[in-house]
Structure formats: C-alpha cells, structure tokens
Symmetry: C2
Subunit: 224 residues, 2 copies
C-alpha cells in the first residue's frame, strides 16, 4: 500500500471473518461447524467463515457469511476478538476477526446435515478442529457465559414465544449448573424485558405453561 513519501510500505494480509454460532440443543450448548473439503485441514471441522471483501466492514462481512454460507438473517452477532498469530494459517498470512452469534433453537434444526455440510456440535465434545478454531470457540464460550450474568443476551437464543422453564434450562445448560426455579423466575421477571402472553404451551400430560415473549426483540440490555 502507498502511504506517502518517506513511509515504509505496509505489509498486506488477508482478513478472514470466522463465526462462532451458538445454539442450545437437548444435549446442551452447541456450535455450528462446517466440514472442510479443501486443503489445508481437509476433512477437519472448522468454523464457518470467509474472507473480507473490498469495501466491506468486518460487521458487514460477518452478516454476509451468515447469509451466504449459512442462509440465516438477523442473528444477534458481536465482534469477539482478532486472531493474528503469523502461523495460524499454513497458506500464508491471514488475520481472522472472530465473531460470535446466537441462533434461537427453533431455527437451528433445519440447518444441520443439509447440503451446507454443516452440523451442530456439542461444545463439550469437540473433535479436533482446523486452524486455531478451538481457541476461538473457547473464547466465545467464555464470553457467552460472562454475558449471561450481566446482560439479557440469553433472550437471543429463544424463539418468539417461550416458557419460563425453557428459558431457565437455556441458562442452566450454558452455565452448567442447576438454578432454583422460584429465584430464577423472580429475577428474570424483575428485569422487565419479557412479558407474558395469553397463550399457553401444552407439552405432555401435565399442566400447560404460560408463553412469554421478549418486549424489545434484538435489544440486549446490560443489567446490574
């Protein structure tokens, strides 16, 4: 790149965007992975990603990867960290901007096993991954757990209508510990971010549960 008179030239590198997409399944927190067919790391599972185009911000690149490679729109996504160890890609210098995104679990099922070559993997039983993607996932998971405690980010994992028991089990499977039902309900209702609907949900031979919805979808509030 030309930087003006007297300036040393700046080395040029490729910028990748790698997406850590989480959802919650019956087997707990899961991340969407894509099996690679090309070298390097052919046959390995890797994060969905792509190279940043000209005239594209990192955030726009992340949205494009979600739309083009995964076929989803409107997910919550935020920048995570930028990974730039010089040896992280055997093809040459690639700096990767990691993002993490959350997918409501009702939208997750149609994706896996399709022509995309993608599948949901439980974060606790990951096969060896290509590149430094295990590191990226580890950091994304830390961030998610941290943000559960001080934000309303977990609501981004819920469908439009959900029961409080479902919400509680989302929290429990991410944190990896059981929560008290009454205290959880008091806490989550006191946040003022969800509201009861007049619908109920029947799921077995027992009392139906009230369905709730998020008051301001897409908003993630910082709490406490």
């Amino acid at each position: 790149m030309h930087l003006g008179p007297g300036a040393e030239p700046a080395p040029l590198v490729a910028i990748a965007v790698d997406m850590v997409i989480f959802t919650v399944t019956e087997r707990g927190l899961a991340v969407l992975l894509r099996r690679r067919h090309e070298a390097p790391f052919a046959g390995y599972w890797t994060l969905p990603g792509g190279f940043l185009s000209d005239h594209e911000s990192p955030e726009a690149g992340a949205e494009r990867v979600l739309a083009d490679k995964i076929g989803v729109h409107g997910l919550y996504a935020e920048q995570l960290y930028t990974f730039g160890r010089p040896d992280r890609d055997p093809r040459g210098r690639v700096v990767s901007i990691g993002f993490f995104a959350l997918m409501p679990w009702n939208r997750a099922a149609p994706l896996a096993g399709e022509a995309h070559g993608t599948a949901w993997h439980s974060v606790d039983t990951l096969a060896p991954l290509g590149f430094d993607h295990a590191t990226i996932i580890g950091m994304a998971r830390q961030r998610l757990v941290a943000k559960l405690a001080y934000s309303t980010i977990a609501l981004q994992l819920m469908p439009q209508r959900f029961t409080l028991s479902q919400l509680q089990s989302v929290y429990e499977s991410i944190m990896g510990e059981a929560l008290d039902k009454r205290n959880f309900r008091k806490w989550v209702c006191s946040l003022g971010c969800i509201e009861a609907t007049d619908e109920t949900y029947r799921a077995g031979s027992h009392r139906p549960a009230r369905l709730y919805r998020v008051k301001h979808p897409g908003e993630v509030r910082i709490i406490k």
Copy 2:
C-alpha cells in the same frame, strides 16, 4: 493471496495497531496522543500506532509500538476492538486493531512534550482527532470504566508504592463520581490484592499516609 485451486483470491489489506494509552493526571483521565505531520490528517492529533509487520502477532505489534514509538515497556495492554470501515483511512484499505493500555501516572510525565511529539490530553476535552480515533478512544474509555467495577485493573495505573487516598482518587476520576472513604478502603482491602508497607508518604503539613503495594504486579484479577 493464493488460496488453492478454485478459490477466489482474497483481497489484501494493511493491518494497523492503534494504542489507546490511558493515565490519570491532576486533571483526570488522560490519553496519550501524537501530532501528525504527514497527510492525511496532517496537524491533527491521533493515537500512536503503526502497521503490523510480517510474522508479527497483533499483541507483539502492540508491544512494538509501545516500545519504539513511545519508549515504554511492560505496560498492561489488552485488545479492544477491530475497526474496519472501508472508508476509515483515505489512503486505502486499512483495518486497525485497537488496543488499550494503562500507564502508571508516575511514568507518564517524562513522555509528554518530548521529541516524540506526544502529549497527554484530558479525555473530556479532546480536540478533533484524525481517522476514527475518537470512536476508538470512546470505546476504550467505556471498557475501562466497565472493568473498574469487576476487576483490579485500576492497580495498573498506580506506581509501585501508593496511598489509599491516591488509589481512591484514581477510581473517582475515572468513574466521575465521589466515593465514601471508609467504604472504599474496606472494599479495596477486602480484595486481598494490595498490602501495606511500613513506609509512609509525607505530602504537606498534615499526617503522613501509609504506603501500599500491589501483591502480584501485572496480575489483573476478575472480582465478584
């Protein structure tokens, strides 16, 4: 960059590292800026920074900028965010990895006004800055304020020996509000991260203050 058969070529960009270096002065929280003499933004104040070299990780690049351009070593620094709007640098495509760093205030004075062309600017009265550096500083400041509440990061702003009143006024000038002296002392001592020395500090015609030191310098603990 060559990505293998059948792959589209990845656009190449320059990677910059920009450092938001904070300290605390008599006039409150301050950031180190450098006056630019070259186009673009000649005459404007900007963050110290540089281009990432080949075979250099972002973290190593940040340390190199601190050492070569500012002449300091061993500062606390962490990655902040990556800024990549396509139009953020009029020279062409430059993606900047922002870092924020903290300098103990006893080491800050020798830097300003020197041949470096750098100066400390109060964060509340910033002149118009070059590039998107005002945005970067704003985000760094948010992060610093947030981390005050849940980590021991403020200790990275202190000299080796300091009084509790000095530490309190560091917290106060970053948070922008007064704290209760007794409650602050109880809280900070209960963290177990600092210890009293047997030295005292005389600073005027009044009772001298006990000097404290950090137990494990360089360690930033997450609290609560």
